[in-house]
């Protein structure tokens, strides 16, 4: 793999949430403009046999294309990807890989797994966002994103339907920016987008 040139743009936004996540994700996705350039990956804890309802509900809110991730699906700019139930979603340079490895902290998909792989593949070109949730998943992954030079954002626990997850993320990443959901949406939209990723085999 080629070394990633130190750039200033962001290619990838990863979002983790569990309890209360549907409403939060609808707000976040609904606030992204049609011209949004980064690839957005959403990891929401849900039942292992849940269907495409989450994708459908999010698509209602956005003119950006929303898809449920399949193995080796390419990561394209300006699209929204939903992690499927009962798999871990890993991010490689330019595409997704799935895994059925054991749940992490009782979760599959695990936010930590997706965030860590995003940090490893996209490093400082990653924006990690932890929203409402009733457990501590995502905190370790967000720290990895921050350690690799990426940007860490956390929903203000006071404004979250369930504060546990953002509180844990805030504790794990003291330098994370803490803000309300609408401020997160505005902030992400204001960030510079990177050059489209050349795919690695």
């Amino acid at each position: 793999m080629m070394a990633i040139a130190p750039g200033v743009g962001y290619d990838l936004v990863v979002v983790g949430t569990s309890w209360g996540g549907l409403a939060a994700l609808r707000t976040l996705v609904g606030g992204l403009p049609d011209s949004f350039q980064m690839a957005v990956t959403l990891v929401q804890h849900r039942h292992k046999d849940s269907d495409h309802l989450l994708r459908t509900l999010l698509q209602e809110r956005s003119s950006l294309q929303v898809c449920e991730v399949e193995d080796k699906m390419p990561l394209e700019h300006g699209r929204i990807y939903v992690a499927p139930p009962n798999y871990h979603t890993l991010i490689e340079p330019g595409h997704f890989s799935l895994s059925t490895d054991a749940p992490v902290r009782f979760s599959r998909p695990s936010i930590d797994v997706t965030f860590s792989s995003a940090a490893d593949s996209y490093a400082h070109r990653t924006v990690g966002i932890v929203l409402t949730g009733a457990n501590a998943d995502g905190a370790d992954g967000l720290r990895r994103i921050s350690d690799r030079g990426g940007l860490a954002l956390v929903q203000d626990p006071k404004t979250a339907e369930s504060p546990t997850m953002p509180e844990a993320a805030q504790k794990a990443v003291p330098r994370a920016r803490v803000m309300s959901l609408s401020a997160i949406t505005r902030f992400v939209t204001s960030l510079p987008a990177g050059q489209p990723e050349r795919e690695h085999a």
Binding site: M1, A3, I4, P6, V8, D49, E68, V69, E70, D71, K72, M73, P74, P84, N86, Y87, L90, I91, E92, H95, S97, L98, S99, T100, D101, A102, V113, S116, S117, D120, S121, A123, H124, S146, D147, R148, G149, G150, L151, R177, R186, F187, S190, L191, P192, A201
Partner: protein
């Protein structure tokens, strides 16, 4: 260069401590060593997954780097055995994705009834959960006695476990729910006997199963099949290797044979898509048509 964004703060820059190129070099050297010394070829596995599994083994061995793990496994075959389990055991469940088994029962079983004899290949069967699930399904549909199931895996240790047919007792509640939602016709508990903390499955379920070692990466086709199951195995391979294995499957299927993939796997990203037709809108069931 420092970039200011809307809130006036500067954005963080690239870190110095982590070198992803060096990590990739260490991983490639380790996998090359494993291949040349032990003959197992993981060099074309999906990078993000194998990286995650290797780091878990590094931690499990109490080491600090991938290079230290390389030294240990080359000098200690027991450590290699542990790594092989980490890299090759695919976690699954009986009747995983009940809707898939329901669809198989409703749509594929009628097709299979037209054959006098049915050969089915479970490629990468791991500890056997899906093989037992299929044996139960075929038994209930009255097809089992004209079927032969070939269950293969790269790893002999998991095949031994699959042969034994003992699964954790604490999973039986989940498996029972799956079984019922998959269209099961009996009481699931009729198929096993609880013993200590294991559920021992009826040995007659394996009377038409042949377990054997087969390596999808290096071995060739060994028969012609009417159905090939390979669910959630290819996700661990990179795209090049996936295409190679799809070529093996294509060569191993009879014309109009069925290929069953995991519910989030797709032929869409492989070069074999034009050779198959989709048999289901919701499940990954394909038929070889050209």
């Amino acid at each position: 260069m420092v970039v200011q964004v809307s809130d006036g703060q500067s954005l963080p820059g690239p870190p110095l401590a982590y070198n992803s190129d060096l990590e990739r070099l260490e991983i490639e050297l380790l996998l090359e060593g494993v291949y040349r010394h032990y003959g197992f070829d993981f060099r074309s596995y999906a990078y993000a997954s194998i990286r995650r599994r290797l780091w878990k083994r590094v931690e499990g061995e109490g080491l600090a780097t991938i290079s230290e793990l390389q030294a240990r496994i080359l000098h200690d075959p027991d450590a290699m055995e542990r790594l092989l389990l980490d890299l090759s055991v695919n976690v699954t469940a009986m009747f995983r994705d009940p809707s898939f088994y329901k669809e198989f029962r409703d749509r594929i079983v009628p097709l299979l009834r037209t054959y006098p004899f049915i050969r089915i290949w479970h490629a990468g069967c791991s500890t056997g959960e899906e093989v037992y699930s299929m044996a139960i399904l075929l038994e209930e549909e009255g097809l089992y006695d004209r079927a032969r199931l070939y269950a293969t895996d790269i790893n002999d240790v998991v095949l031994q476990r699959a042969r034994q047919g003992i699964f954790p007792l604490d999973r039986m509640q989940e498996y029972t729910e799956n079984y019922l939602r998959a269209g099961g016709k009996k009481s699931f508990s009729e198929y096993y006997t609880a013993k200590y903390d294991g559920a021992l499955f009826d040995a007659s379920l394996t009377r038409n199963v042949v377990f054997s070692q087969h390596n999808l990466v290096t071995d060739r086709s060994f028969s012609e099949f009417h159905v090939i199951f390979c669910r959630n195995v290819l996700i661990y391979f990179d795209k090049t290797l996936q295409n190679r294995v799809h070529s093996l499957f294509y060569d191993s299927l009879v014309m109009l044979g069925i290929l069953a993939l995991g519910s989030k796997e797709s032929l869409k990203f492989s070069q074999y898509e034009p050779n198959y037709e989709k048999l289901s809108a919701t499940e990954k069931l394909y038929r070889k048509v050209r």
